[in-house]
């Protein structure tokens, strides 16, 4: 890959992770090395049990590798203590989960403010930045809505706003469309593509869904704790176009419902 001598945002060298499961030692990662540069849209793919989740936990600073080095945004994190890792997660990583993980009975804006509370941002700045982040994901009119009053796609957009709000070095998205229908899934992928293109954010998807991977620029494949493939995507699909198509189809359905259902 040609990166013109830029510093990688993620620089993982020879990482191992072994778990003790009773008497057996399970090697989840068996020497993984990988670099990701700012602005990349990467999918890490692999079947379950491949070590994909372990790699995500290590990249997300939720877990420490047994051996190897990990430099995130210029900081060596593999020796950090629990609270230092919490600070790194807070400042440098935005998380987007399959099940959204919004706080219940909490408004969209309060959810988005949460990471800034832990970062010690003043109440006034929090409000302004959270509003801005929600506007950037198209929810400027739903600041006070509770998560129970939002659709799945909207909830995931709140989660994306929350992941963006501390200006992280990377966003880690774990099956972000897994709980969504195709249309909402396209909408979320469109949002990621737009954010990546317009703001240069780095997004790492962890998925087994090829439809997500097709929307990325690069696919890293993992199996049995090892990287088995690292390829650029020849033809990156445009999620926004697909989403428009869904919307158009929905408009048609609304206009002539009988006809559409007959065709189906």
């Amino acid at each position: 890959m040609n990166n013109n001598g830029r510093t990688p945002v993620i620089d993982v060298r020879d990482i191992y992770k072994t778990y003790q499961m009773g008497e057996h030692e399970v090697r989840a990662l068996a020497g993984v090395s990988l670099t990701i540069y700012p602005g990349e849209l990467v999918a890490i793919m692999g079947p379950s049990g491949s070590g994909k989740s372990t790699l995500m936990n290590v990249l997300g600073c939720l877990d420490q590798p047994t051996a190897g080095s990990y430099r995130l945004d210029g900081v060596d994190v593999e020796q950090m203590k629990e609270d230092e890792l919490a600070a790194v997660r807070n400042r440098k990583i935005g998380f987007v989960f399959q099940s959204f993980n919004l706080l219940r009975r909490t408004s969209a804006i309060d959810n988005v403010e949460q990471p800034m509370i832990y970062a010690g941002v003043s109440a006034k700045d929090r409000r302004a930045r959270a509003t801005e982040a929600l506007e950037s994901v198209g929810l400027g009119t739903r600041l006070k809505h509770f998560s129970s009053e939002l659709s799945g796609g909207q909830q995931q957009r709140v989660a994306i706003a929350r992941s963006l709000v501390n200006n992280p070095a990377i966003i880690l998205a774990d099956e972000p469309t897994g709980n969504l229908d195709s249309k909402s899934g396209a909408e979320i992928m469109c949002l990621f593509q737009t954010l990546s293109r317009e703001k240069g954010i780095t997004v790492i998807f962890v998925t087994h869904d090829p439809r997500i991977a097709d929307h990325c620029k690069r696919i890293i494949r993992i199996a049995d704790g090892l990287i088995t493939g690292d390829d650029l995507v020849a033809e990156q699909r445009d999620a926004c176009a697909e989403h428009s198509a869904f919307t158009a189809a929905a408009a048609l359905t609304a206009a002539a419902p009988g006809k559409m259902s007959a065709k189906k």
Partner: protein, 412 residues
């Protein structure tokens, strides 16, 4: 600090989301604090009532009564010993530092005015009685020295007696019959109200010597031929001289009653201080007992809080995982749950203070005394509530802070 305020806001939001559960959890603390507050207030009220009762009797009063006071028995009941006027004069002559003194004879008298009749306690008194009981007439005048020395047939009525005989008419100047002896009413006392010894206003006062020589002659004659008194009272110059006064009185009386060394006193010296201390000891035993009940409810309430917080930590495992993922440190999670527990117990405590104050406010409708809700009791209750929340919230909060974010996020 901002983080603490944030945690308090969050705690209130979380608690109000589970309103009925939070209220039920608080109930234990509320009952405990309510009990502590009402009981302390009742204790303070009773104390004030007793203080008031004794303050109503003048300050630094020391009384001598005949006979040895048996614990639990009425004074003077156990012995045929008597006090005489000679004893009184000797005490007055030989006791230093006294401001006032008096001697009293006490009996029951039958009063008749027109068709009305009433039986009350009659005191034969010296004029100093007004000082010693700190009690003055509302109308007319009290017994004076001249009434006493001339053995005049005059009487001062207590309010109840005056009402019984005269209803709303003015008794002063009227003549009533006391044990069939005509007596002129010279005054009516102010009302003292009821106390635990009964209606203090159902009384009458006559000059001591009138009582001794003209009304209760049979009762007032000692074997020696001397006149008897039922009580001798002196007012000390200060609390500090009380022991010296008491010992002077004891010396005089033992000598006059010819008591050998080792014999028991045949009289009893009682000071207000002692009485107040006795009652004080009683009320503090009561308060300790009631306080223990309150403490047990607080303990049970605290365990309730711990239970609910543990449930809450389990229910919110994913939330805790998420919070850790987005940057909450261990101590942040710890303090969040701790603040939640303290908020719970503190709100419970505040409700308890209201309950306790409510009980204290209702009591005067059923009892003679007025409970006092003191700042110190409220402060104690608030302090207890916070301590209970901290103590019983610590373990659940610690459990929450120890959760592994990966496992917590995966928790179903």
């Amino acid at each position: 600090m901002a983080a603490v305020i944030e945690s308090i806001r969050l705690a209130i939001r979380t608690l109000s989301a589970n309103r009925s559960r939070s209220l039920l959890t608080m109930l234990g603390i509320s009952i405990g604090v309510g009990a502590v507050i009402s009981l302390l207030s009742i204790g303070a009220g009773v104390q004030a009532y007793i203080d008031d009762l004794f303050a109503g009797a003048g300050t630094n009063i020391i009384t001598v009564q005949p006979g040895k006071l048996q614990r639990g028995g009425p004074p003077g009941a156990s012995s045929s010993a008597q006090l005489t006027e000679g004893d009184y004069r000797a005490i007055v002559a030989n006791t230093p530092n006294i401001l006032a003194h008096g001697a009293f004879l006490q009996s029951i008298g039958n009063f008749i005015y027109e068709k009305k009749e009433s039986q009350v306690i009659v005191y034969g008194v010296t004029p100093s009685y007004t000082v010693i009981r700190n009690w003055l007439p509302a109308q007319g005048r009290f017994v004076e020295e001249a009434d006493n020395t001339s053995r005049l047939r005059v009487v001062v009525l207590g309010q109840t007696l005056a009402k019984d005989l005269f209803e709303d008419a003015d008794p002063v100047g009227q003549v009533v019959k006391l044990n069939n002896i005509p007596m002129r009413v010279i005054g009516v006392m102010t009302s003292k109200g009821a106390s635990f010894v009964g209606d203090q206003d159902a009384v009458a006062f006559v000059p001591l010597m009138t009582a001794q020589d003209r009304i209760f002659q049979a009762q007032a004659q000692a074997k020696s031929g001397e006149r008897i008194v039922n009580a001798i009272a002196v007012q000390g110059a200060s609390e500090a001289v009380r022991p010296s006064i008491e010992s002077a009185m004891r010396t005089v009386l033992r000598e006059r009653h010819r008591l050998a060394e080792g014999d028991e006193d045949d009289f009893t010296i009682v000071s207000q201080t002692e009485l107040i201390n006795t009652f004080g000891a009683l009320t503090s035993v009561l308060q300790i007992f009631l306080g223990a009940i309150g403490a047990i409810s607080l303990l049970v309430g605290g365990i309730g809080i711990m239970n609910i917080m543990l449930v809450s930590v389990t229910e919110r495992t994913r939330e805790i995982g998420l919070r850790k993922a987005i940057g909450a440190k261990r101590k942040t999670i710890l303090s969040q749950f701790l603040i939640e527990a303290v908020t719970l117990s503190l709100l419970g405590g505040l409700i308890g203070i209201l309950i306790g104050a409510g009980i204290a406010a209702v009591i005067p409708f059923f009892a003679d005394f007025k409970p006092q809700v003191r700042g110190s009791a409220v402060g104690l209750a608030v302090g207890f509530s916070i301590t209970v929340g901290l103590f019983f919230g610590l373990y659940p909060a610690w459990r929450a802070s120890k959760l592994n974010p990966i496992e917590a996020l995966r928790y179903e």
